[in-house]
Symmetry: C2
DNA sequence: ATTTGTGCAAATCGTTTGCATCTGA
DNA sequence: TCAGATGCAAACGATTTGCACAAAT
Protein backbone atom coordinates (compact mmCIF):
# COMPACT_ATOMS: atom_id res chain seq x y z
CA UNK A 1 0.00 0.00 0.00
CA UNK A 2 2.96 2.31 -0.52
CA UNK A 3 1.52 5.25 -2.34
CA UNK A 4 3.90 6.75 -4.80
CA UNK A 5 4.75 10.18 -3.50
CA UNK A 6 4.21 12.84 -6.14
CA UNK A 7 6.38 15.23 -4.16
CA UNK A 8 9.37 13.03 -4.69
CA UNK A 9 9.72 14.13 -8.24
CA UNK A 10 13.26 15.35 -8.29
CA UNK A 11 14.72 12.47 -6.35
CA UNK A 12 15.65 8.88 -6.82
CA UNK A 13 12.54 7.01 -7.71
CA UNK A 14 12.88 3.94 -5.58
CA UNK A 15 16.45 2.95 -5.19
CA UNK A 16 17.21 2.40 -8.83
CA UNK A 17 17.22 5.56 -10.88
CA UNK A 18 19.06 8.73 -10.12
CA UNK A 19 16.86 11.35 -11.64
CA UNK A 20 14.02 10.22 -13.77
CA UNK A 21 12.49 13.66 -13.81
CA UNK A 22 15.61 15.11 -15.33
CA UNK A 23 15.83 12.39 -17.92
CA UNK A 24 12.25 12.93 -18.93
CA UNK A 25 12.74 16.66 -19.22
CA UNK A 26 15.83 16.14 -21.29
CA UNK A 27 13.70 14.08 -23.63
CA UNK A 28 11.07 16.77 -23.77
CA UNK A 29 8.64 14.76 -21.67
CA UNK A 30 6.78 16.24 -18.78
CA UNK A 31 7.26 14.38 -15.54
CA UNK A 32 3.63 13.54 -15.03
CA UNK A 33 2.25 11.41 -12.25
CA UNK A 34 1.68 8.45 -14.58
CA UNK A 35 5.10 8.58 -16.14
CA UNK A 36 6.79 8.84 -12.79
CA UNK A 37 4.71 6.02 -11.39
CA UNK A 38 5.42 3.72 -14.29
CA UNK A 39 9.04 4.76 -14.15
CA UNK A 40 9.09 3.78 -10.50
CA UNK A 41 7.81 0.33 -11.31
CA UNK A 42 10.18 -0.09 -14.21
CA UNK A 43 13.39 1.27 -12.77
CA UNK A 44 12.92 0.67 -9.08
CA UNK A 45 13.21 -3.09 -9.16
CA UNK A 46 16.33 -4.03 -11.03
CA UNK A 47 16.36 -5.27 -14.59
CA UNK A 48 12.97 -6.11 -15.94
CA UNK A 49 11.24 -7.44 -19.00
CA UNK A 50 7.71 -6.21 -19.43
CA UNK A 51 4.98 -6.02 -21.98
CA UNK A 52 2.39 -3.29 -22.05
CA UNK A 53 -0.07 -5.74 -20.61
CA UNK A 54 2.09 -6.95 -17.72
CA UNK A 55 3.09 -3.43 -16.78
CA UNK A 56 -0.51 -2.32 -16.89
CA UNK A 57 -1.57 -5.16 -14.61
CA UNK A 58 1.25 -4.39 -12.25
CA UNK A 59 0.26 -0.76 -12.10
CA UNK A 60 -3.32 -1.71 -11.32
CA UNK A 61 -2.17 -4.07 -8.61
CA UNK A 62 -0.05 -1.29 -7.14
CA UNK A 63 -3.07 0.98 -7.01
CA UNK A 64 -1.79 3.18 -9.79
CA UNK A 65 -4.52 4.08 -12.18
CA UNK A 66 -3.31 4.31 -15.76
CA UNK A 67 -5.03 3.34 -18.95
CA UNK A 68 -3.55 0.72 -21.19
CA UNK A 69 -3.19 3.32 -23.92
CA UNK A 70 -1.09 5.46 -21.63
CA UNK A 71 1.08 2.49 -20.78
CA UNK A 72 1.73 1.96 -24.48
CA UNK A 73 2.46 5.63 -24.98
CA UNK A 74 4.77 5.74 -22.01
CA UNK A 75 6.70 2.65 -23.01
CA UNK A 76 7.32 4.08 -26.44
CA UNK A 77 8.26 7.48 -25.12
CA UNK A 78 10.70 5.92 -22.65
CA UNK A 79 12.12 3.84 -25.46
CA UNK A 80 12.61 6.89 -27.65
CA UNK A 81 14.24 8.61 -24.71
CA UNK A 82 16.70 5.76 -24.41
CA UNK A 83 15.45 4.60 -21.02
CA UNK A 84 14.13 1.31 -22.39
CA UNK A 85 15.00 -1.07 -25.14
CA UNK A 86 12.29 -2.77 -27.11
CA UNK A 87 12.79 -6.42 -27.91
CA UNK A 88 11.81 -8.00 -31.20
CA UNK A 89 11.27 -11.34 -29.64
CA UNK A 90 8.11 -12.72 -30.94
CA UNK A 91 5.60 -12.17 -33.68
CA UNK A 92 2.86 -10.86 -31.46
CA UNK A 93 3.65 -9.12 -28.21
CA UNK A 94 6.30 -6.47 -27.84
CA UNK A 95 8.66 -6.74 -24.88
CA UNK A 96 10.53 -3.90 -23.26
CA UNK A 97 13.74 -4.28 -21.32
CA UNK A 98 14.95 -1.88 -18.68
CA UNK A 99 18.50 -3.01 -19.30
CA UNK A 100 19.64 -0.96 -22.25
CA UNK A 101 23.16 -2.33 -22.28
CA UNK A 102 24.30 -4.88 -24.80
CA UNK A 103 23.04 -8.30 -23.85
CA UNK A 104 20.97 -11.10 -25.28
CA UNK A 105 17.93 -13.16 -24.41
CA UNK A 106 16.44 -16.53 -23.92
CA UNK A 107 12.88 -16.80 -25.06
CA UNK A 108 10.62 -19.69 -24.24
CA UNK A 109 7.81 -19.90 -26.71
CA UNK A 110 5.63 -22.00 -24.49
CA UNK A 111 4.85 -19.43 -21.88
CA UNK A 112 6.36 -16.36 -23.47
CA UNK A 113 8.98 -16.04 -20.76
CA UNK A 114 11.96 -13.87 -21.45
CA UNK A 115 15.24 -14.00 -19.57
CA UNK A 116 18.73 -12.66 -19.94
CA UNK A 117 21.61 -14.65 -21.30
CA UNK A 118 24.29 -14.30 -18.62
CA UNK A 119 26.68 -11.65 -19.82
CA UNK A 120 29.85 -13.11 -21.20
CA UNK A 121 28.22 -16.43 -21.94
CA UNK A 122 27.96 -15.58 -25.58
CA UNK A 123 29.69 -13.23 -27.93
CA UNK A 124 29.18 -12.13 -31.46
CA UNK A 125 32.34 -12.44 -33.46
CA UNK A 126 32.83 -10.26 -36.50
CA UNK A 127 30.05 -7.81 -36.94
CA UNK A 128 29.23 -7.72 -40.61
CA UNK A 129 29.24 -4.53 -42.62
CA UNK A 130 25.86 -3.11 -43.33
CA UNK A 131 24.73 -2.98 -46.94
CA UNK A 132 25.55 0.14 -48.99
CA UNK A 133 24.24 3.33 -47.48
CA UNK A 134 23.06 1.62 -44.33
CA UNK A 135 24.31 1.67 -40.80
CA UNK A 136 23.79 -0.81 -38.01
CA UNK A 137 21.58 0.37 -35.20
CA UNK A 138 21.52 -2.72 -33.05
CA UNK A 139 22.11 -6.43 -32.96
CA UNK A 140 19.54 -8.61 -31.31
CA UNK A 141 20.18 -12.19 -30.44
CA UNK A 142 17.32 -14.39 -29.31
CA UNK A 143 18.04 -17.89 -28.12
CA UNK A 144 14.82 -19.80 -28.41
CA UNK A 145 14.32 -22.50 -25.82
CA UNK A 146 11.71 -25.05 -24.89
CA UNK A 147 11.09 -27.29 -21.91
CA UNK A 148 13.25 -30.39 -22.21
CA UNK A 149 11.42 -33.63 -22.94
CA UNK B 1 2.70 -15.05 -68.30
CA UNK B 2 4.15 -18.47 -67.65
CA UNK B 3 1.28 -20.46 -66.27
CA UNK B 4 2.27 -22.92 -63.65
CA UNK B 5 1.67 -26.33 -65.13
CA UNK B 6 -0.43 -28.50 -62.86
CA UNK B 7 0.68 -31.56 -64.75
CA UNK B 8 4.24 -31.04 -63.63
CA UNK B 9 3.45 -32.28 -60.18
CA UNK B 10 6.00 -34.98 -59.71
CA UNK B 11 8.90 -33.13 -61.18
CA UNK B 12 11.22 -30.30 -60.33
CA UNK B 13 9.11 -27.26 -59.71
CA UNK B 14 11.02 -24.63 -61.59
CA UNK B 15 14.69 -25.27 -61.40
CA UNK B 16 15.04 -25.10 -57.64
CA UNK B 17 13.36 -27.95 -55.85
CA UNK B 18 13.84 -31.60 -56.56
CA UNK B 19 10.55 -33.06 -55.55
CA UNK B 20 8.13 -30.87 -53.74
CA UNK B 21 5.35 -33.37 -54.15
CA UNK B 22 7.35 -36.00 -52.34
CA UNK B 23 8.26 -33.63 -49.55
CA UNK B 24 4.66 -32.66 -49.08
CA UNK B 25 3.54 -36.25 -48.99
CA UNK B 26 6.23 -37.09 -46.50
CA UNK B 27 4.81 -34.36 -44.31
CA UNK B 28 1.30 -35.72 -44.73
CA UNK B 29 0.26 -32.84 -46.96
CA UNK B 30 -1.59 -33.39 -50.18
CA UNK B 31 0.14 -31.86 -53.16
CA UNK B 32 -2.76 -29.64 -54.11
CA UNK B 33 -2.76 -27.10 -56.87
CA UNK B 34 -2.41 -24.20 -54.47
CA UNK B 35 0.41 -25.73 -52.47
CA UNK B 36 2.34 -26.63 -55.59
CA UNK B 37 1.81 -23.20 -57.05
CA UNK B 38 2.95 -21.41 -53.93
CA UNK B 39 5.81 -23.87 -53.66
CA UNK B 40 6.81 -22.97 -57.19
CA UNK B 41 6.93 -19.29 -56.31
CA UNK B 42 8.81 -19.93 -53.11
CA UNK B 43 11.36 -22.48 -54.20
CA UNK B 44 11.73 -21.74 -57.87
CA UNK B 45 13.54 -18.44 -57.49
CA UNK B 46 16.46 -18.89 -55.16
CA UNK B 47 16.45 -17.83 -51.54
CA UNK B 48 13.54 -15.66 -50.62
CA UNK B 49 12.04 -13.76 -47.73
CA UNK B 50 8.32 -13.40 -47.88
CA UNK B 51 5.40 -12.45 -45.73
CA UNK B 52 1.93 -13.84 -46.19
CA UNK B 53 0.96 -10.59 -47.78
CA UNK B 54 3.81 -10.36 -50.27
CA UNK B 55 3.40 -13.97 -51.30
CA UNK B 56 -0.30 -13.50 -51.75
CA UNK B 57 0.24 -10.46 -53.96
CA UNK B 58 2.82 -12.32 -55.95
CA UNK B 59 0.45 -15.21 -56.49
CA UNK B 60 -2.27 -12.86 -57.67
CA UNK B 61 0.12 -11.15 -60.04
CA UNK B 62 1.09 -14.56 -61.40
CA UNK B 63 -2.52 -15.36 -62.06
CA UNK B 64 -2.67 -17.93 -59.30
CA UNK B 65 -5.85 -17.66 -57.35
CA UNK B 66 -5.39 -18.39 -53.66
CA UNK B 67 -7.03 -16.79 -50.68
CA UNK B 68 -4.94 -15.04 -48.10
CA UNK B 69 -6.08 -17.57 -45.52
CA UNK B 70 -4.72 -20.38 -47.65
CA UNK B 71 -1.43 -18.55 -48.00
CA UNK B 72 -1.19 -18.37 -44.23
CA UNK B 73 -2.09 -22.01 -43.88
CA UNK B 74 0.39 -23.04 -46.51
CA UNK B 75 3.23 -21.03 -45.05
CA UNK B 76 2.70 -22.61 -41.68
CA UNK B 77 2.36 -26.08 -43.08
CA UNK B 78 5.56 -25.67 -45.08
CA UNK B 79 7.26 -24.38 -41.98
CA UNK B 80 6.12 -27.37 -39.95
CA UNK B 81 7.33 -29.60 -42.75
CA UNK B 82 10.76 -28.01 -42.53
CA UNK B 83 10.62 -26.42 -45.95
CA UNK B 84 10.56 -22.91 -44.57
CA UNK B 85 11.89 -21.11 -41.56
CA UNK B 86 9.86 -18.43 -39.86
CA UNK B 87 11.68 -15.33 -38.74
CA UNK B 88 10.95 -13.47 -35.53
CA UNK B 89 12.11 -10.22 -36.96
CA UNK B 90 9.67 -7.62 -35.95
CA UNK B 91 6.77 -7.12 -33.63
CA UNK B 92 4.13 -7.18 -36.28
CA UNK B 93 4.57 -9.08 -39.52
CA UNK B 94 5.89 -12.61 -39.72
CA UNK B 95 8.56 -13.32 -42.29
CA UNK B 96 9.33 -16.68 -43.84
CA UNK B 97 12.67 -17.66 -45.29
CA UNK B 98 13.18 -20.34 -47.92
CA UNK B 99 16.72 -20.78 -46.73
CA UNK B 100 16.48 -23.12 -43.77
CA UNK B 101 20.20 -23.32 -43.14
CA UNK B 102 21.85 -21.46 -40.30
CA UNK B 103 22.29 -17.85 -41.22
CA UNK B 104 21.34 -14.42 -39.93
CA UNK B 105 19.58 -11.30 -41.13
CA UNK B 106 19.69 -7.60 -41.67
CA UNK B 107 16.44 -5.88 -41.05
CA UNK B 108 15.68 -2.34 -42.08
CA UNK B 109 12.88 -0.93 -40.00
CA UNK B 110 12.09 1.82 -42.44
CA UNK B 111 10.71 -0.26 -45.22
CA UNK B 112 10.63 -3.63 -43.54
CA UNK B 113 13.23 -5.05 -45.88
CA UNK B 114 14.94 -8.24 -44.86
CA UNK B 115 18.22 -9.50 -46.28
CA UNK B 116 20.77 -12.15 -45.46
CA UNK B 117 23.96 -11.50 -43.59
CA UNK B 118 26.63 -12.97 -45.86
CA UNK B 119 27.53 -16.34 -44.46
CA UNK B 120 30.77 -16.28 -42.55
CA UNK B 121 30.56 -12.55 -41.94
CA UNK B 122 29.45 -13.15 -38.41
CA UNK B 123 29.75 -15.92 -35.89
CA UNK B 124 28.32 -16.64 -32.53
CA UNK B 125 30.99 -17.55 -30.06
CA UNK B 126 30.09 -19.63 -27.04
CA UNK B 127 26.52 -20.74 -27.09
CA UNK B 128 25.22 -20.37 -23.57
CA UNK B 129 23.65 -23.21 -21.68
CA UNK B 130 19.92 -23.10 -21.50
CA UNK B 131 18.34 -22.61 -18.10
CA UNK B 132 17.51 -25.71 -16.04
CA UNK B 133 15.25 -28.15 -17.79
CA UNK B 134 15.32 -26.24 -21.03
CA UNK B 135 16.92 -26.93 -24.34
CA UNK B 136 17.87 -24.56 -27.12
CA UNK B 137 15.79 -24.83 -30.25
CA UNK B 138 17.33 -22.07 -32.32
CA UNK B 139 19.36 -18.93 -32.21
CA UNK B 140 18.20 -15.95 -34.18
CA UNK B 141 20.34 -12.95 -34.86
CA UNK B 142 18.83 -9.83 -36.31
CA UNK B 143 21.06 -6.95 -37.25
CA UNK B 144 18.91 -3.87 -37.35
CA UNK B 145 19.93 -1.25 -39.86
CA UNK B 146 18.76 2.12 -41.08
CA UNK B 147 19.56 4.33 -44.02
CA UNK B 148 22.71 6.30 -43.30
CA UNK B 149 22.31 10.04 -42.74
C1' DA C 1 -3.68 30.50 -19.46
C1' DT C 2 -1.62 27.55 -22.45
C1' DT C 3 0.22 23.56 -23.74
C1' DT C 4 0.83 18.81 -23.23
C1' DG C 5 -0.83 14.37 -21.40
C1' DT C 6 -4.53 11.14 -20.31
C1' DG C 7 -8.54 8.10 -20.75
C1' DC C 8 -11.84 6.01 -23.18
C1' DA C 9 -13.68 3.74 -26.94
C1' DA C 10 -13.55 3.06 -31.65
C1' DA C 11 -10.48 1.98 -35.46
C1' DT C 12 -6.63 -0.66 -37.49
C1' DC C 13 -3.45 -4.30 -38.65
C1' DG C 14 -1.91 -8.87 -39.06
C1' DT C 15 -3.46 -13.26 -38.32
C1' DT C 16 -6.72 -17.11 -37.23
C1' DT C 17 -11.01 -19.64 -37.36
C1' DG C 18 -15.75 -21.64 -38.55
C1' DC C 19 -18.20 -23.49 -41.92
C1' DA C 20 -20.01 -24.65 -46.51
C1' DT C 21 -18.08 -26.10 -50.77
C1' DC C 22 -14.81 -28.33 -53.60
C1' DT C 23 -10.98 -31.50 -54.88
C1' DG C 24 -7.56 -35.18 -55.03
C1' DA C 25 -6.47 -40.00 -54.02
C1' DT D 1 -16.48 -42.02 -52.03
C1' DC D 2 -14.61 -39.23 -48.53
C1' DA D 3 -10.99 -37.32 -45.86
C1' DG D 4 -8.66 -33.39 -46.35
C1' DA D 5 -8.25 -28.42 -48.55
C1' DT D 6 -9.92 -24.10 -49.84
C1' DG D 7 -12.42 -19.65 -49.73
C1' DC D 8 -14.88 -16.37 -47.63
C1' DA D 9 -16.06 -13.53 -44.04
C1' DA D 10 -16.42 -12.97 -39.38
C1' DA D 11 -13.64 -13.26 -35.10
C1' DC D 12 -9.48 -12.08 -32.62
C1' DG D 13 -5.58 -10.07 -30.01
C1' DA D 14 -2.24 -6.57 -29.81
C1' DT D 15 -1.57 -1.94 -30.71
C1' DT D 16 -2.85 2.85 -32.26
C1' DT D 17 -5.62 6.86 -32.75
C1' DG D 18 -9.19 10.77 -32.20
C1' DC D 19 -11.15 13.62 -29.32
C1' DA D 20 -13.06 15.64 -24.88
C1' DC D 21 -11.28 16.35 -20.31
C1' DA D 22 -7.50 17.03 -16.81
C1' DA D 23 -3.06 18.37 -15.25
C1' DA D 24 1.54 20.61 -15.44
C1' DT D 25 4.29 24.80 -16.28
Amino acid sequence: MTDFDPADTGKAVSGGEENLTGQLKAAGLRPTRQRLSLGGLLFGNGDRHVTAETLHEEAMAAGIHVSLATVYNTLHQFTDAGLLRSLPVNGSKTYFDTNTTRHHHFYCESGGVLSDVPSGAMEIAGLPEAPEGMEITSVDVVVRIRPKA
